[in-house]
Amino acid sequence: MEAQELAGRVAAAVANRGLHEAVARSVDRHSYAALAALSPELRTLYKARARAARLRSVRDLADLAEQFIAEAERHGIVVHTAADAAEAVAIVAEIAKRHGARRIVKSKSMATEEVELNRHLAAEGMQVLETDLGEYIVQLAGQKPSHIVAPCLHMARDEIAGLFSREAGREIAKDTPSLTAFARERLREEFRQADLGISGGNFLVASEGAVVLVTNEGNGRMCTTLPKVHVALVGVEKLVRSFQDMADALRILPVAATGQLITSYVSIVRGPAKEGEEGPREVHVVLMDAGRSEILGGPYEEVLACIRCGACLDICPVYRQTGGHAYGSVYSGPIGAVLTPLLRPDREAQALPFLSSLCGACSDVCPVGIHLHEHLVALRARAVARGVTFASEHTAFRALRRAWTPPRRYRLVRGLMRGALRLGGGVPQLRAWTAGRRLPPVATGRVGELLRREGLIEERR
């Protein structure tokens, strides 16, 4: 059921060829830039270091959380812990209410997407404005991000110019300078007026109690410094041991994401402003679990090492055809198909691992070496065990096993199959295949016979 629904969404996305063109153009730009940015030797070295640093941190997550809380509190950061999405939302809403916040500016954060923070805050009568350019565009369009790094990558430039023109009440040209000029002007004003800033976090440095934001537009820094209160909502897996471990991961993050050797802004938040300093009077960090701790210690633990660079989406031959929305989840692409069923217990999420041709390009490109395709295969088995599968496959594969093992039976059945296939066969799987592809001619005899006739094989005694 769930699998069929997914297949329906995918078919609809594939039918939209304009979507494919927009997505393919952007992901190719990312992938080529990423490939060109480093020599193979440096890439190997950086990847190994990033992986080691991330795995170390994931392994010690419980200790790092304690250390982070102690250090952050020492600098005056108020640390909250949220077991699930509902708690995370409640904590942020409570802080906002206590400060009578009406206008909120936000920098890009997948964790806040995960808990649908904007929707909840809007329901409390607060106005939340996304300030990352891509997120701002997606918000104007009333959509959700379709890529973890480039939220509006699925949109054509014309569409964006149209949205901006409507928002401005005048014609905005579709060249990049005009678009960014409009957004900048519009957002500057909001930054000044906002009474609360919300961010995510790319790293939480345990030894320093620091939240680290990596951005290209500087909007993150505005969100965390201009409003008098800053709240960072961060998944607990973002913890790293030290600045050194952070640096090991940070070195490869922008390369993998967009092919930049260094990102434009790395902001380190270490607490509220002191007397006489400018900056927020209060800084809160919400450490969110929401399913992470269940992944810890199990076969999928390395998935927590993900640094959300988006490289696996960019290289994915499926993602480039469908874009992100077809996945029906906050995280899309290979990492989305792996992470979503681990974070979300619902049956719909369990179907996502099937949305992959298992080419394995993702595992090779991942800067922290997550074995994505192997997890996809394993999660398919888990889905089947939970009853999420494509129609009648249970019966089909049981029948196949019975018919094709042991080998002697396979030989007989294969002979029969050749006959059936030649007749065109009523196998439904075959019909799906022949709908757009011609089947090669079916062999008439046994391959063993042919090998023998040519004298190619030694008979075994």
């Binding site: 041709s357 249970h394 049981r398 093992t405 042991p406 396979y410 592809r437 090669p440 040519e454």
Partner: protein
């Protein structure tokens, strides 16, 4: 060397030429070839989430191929499955691990075990080489198989602009998401250039069936899908 042949189910049903060519080339290189009783590698079930249904396939392989000096299959995909399945299901059996390490895809065997470098041969054609994903990303061979074609006279070897882009086969994936699978094939085929090459070479029958089947369904004549072994055979490698 005594080489055992794993023919693969697609090789049995659709691509016997690839199996025969694999045997001929190995034979010409001086190997003795054996054909133990066998069945499929179990990948259709395994990759669809039916691991327990796949286990008997791997068990049969371990049983019938136990002790092999080397096993060669004309498919990177099946080899990746066999290697993975052997260690996952029977890793505690020392022979499973050893057999996994001695199971090779054809080009892998020729390059790594045989140590062939740019073997001589002759075949007049404009060919384009498709890197099958399971060979390149699962077995980590990249596009090394092209080395085997570089010494063939008369062969003009082209590459896709996006050599690593998947053809969209993916086993049951092609059946679960038919439109998507076809769209992936079409994008791959757009990259053929024009005029189209004469042959499309790959070392996995799945990719060849996907791309060849798509070309034929659209009424195209070229390129003709050709297994790497068939090309090596026709070029007279080892003669």
């Amino acid at each position: 060397m005594r080489v055992r042949l794993f023919t693969t189910c697609l090789g049995d049903l659709f691509a016997q030429e690839a199996v025969l060519s694999t045997a001929r080339v190995l034979r010409r290189l001086g190997h003795e070839i054996e054909l133990p009783e066998q069945t499929c590698c179990g990948q259709p079930a395994y990759n669809s989430g039916f691991q327990e249904e796949a286990r008997p396939f791997i068990a049969a392989y371990l049983d019938k191929f136990r002790g092999s000096e080397a096993v060669v299959a004309p498919s990177g995909s099946c080899v990746a499955m066999l290697r993975h399945g052997l260690t996952q299901f029977f890793g505690e059996d020392g022979e499973a691990r050893r057999l996994a390490e001695h199971t090779y895809e054809m080009s892998q065997f020729l390059l790594d075990v045989e140590g062939l470098k740019a073997p001589k041969g002759h075949f007049d054609a404009k060919a384009i080489y498709h890197e099958s994903c399971h060979l390149s990303h699962w077995l980590h061979q990249g596009d090394r198989a092209k080395e085997l074609l570089s010494g063939i006279e008369g062969l003009e070897l082209l590459t896709f602009r996006e050599p690593q882009l998947c053809c969209g086969f993916g086993g049951t994936f092609a059946v679960h998401f038919p439109e998507l699978s076809l769209a992936m094939a079409d994008e791959k085929l757009q990259d053929l250039g024009s005029p189209e090459p004469d042959i499309l070479v790959a070392s996995d029958q799945g990719c060849l069936m996907q791309l060849g089947g798509r070309i034929a369904a659209k009424g195209g004549k070229r390129p003709e899908p050709m297994h790497l072994s068939v090309l090596l055979d026709r070029a007279g490698v080892g003669k």
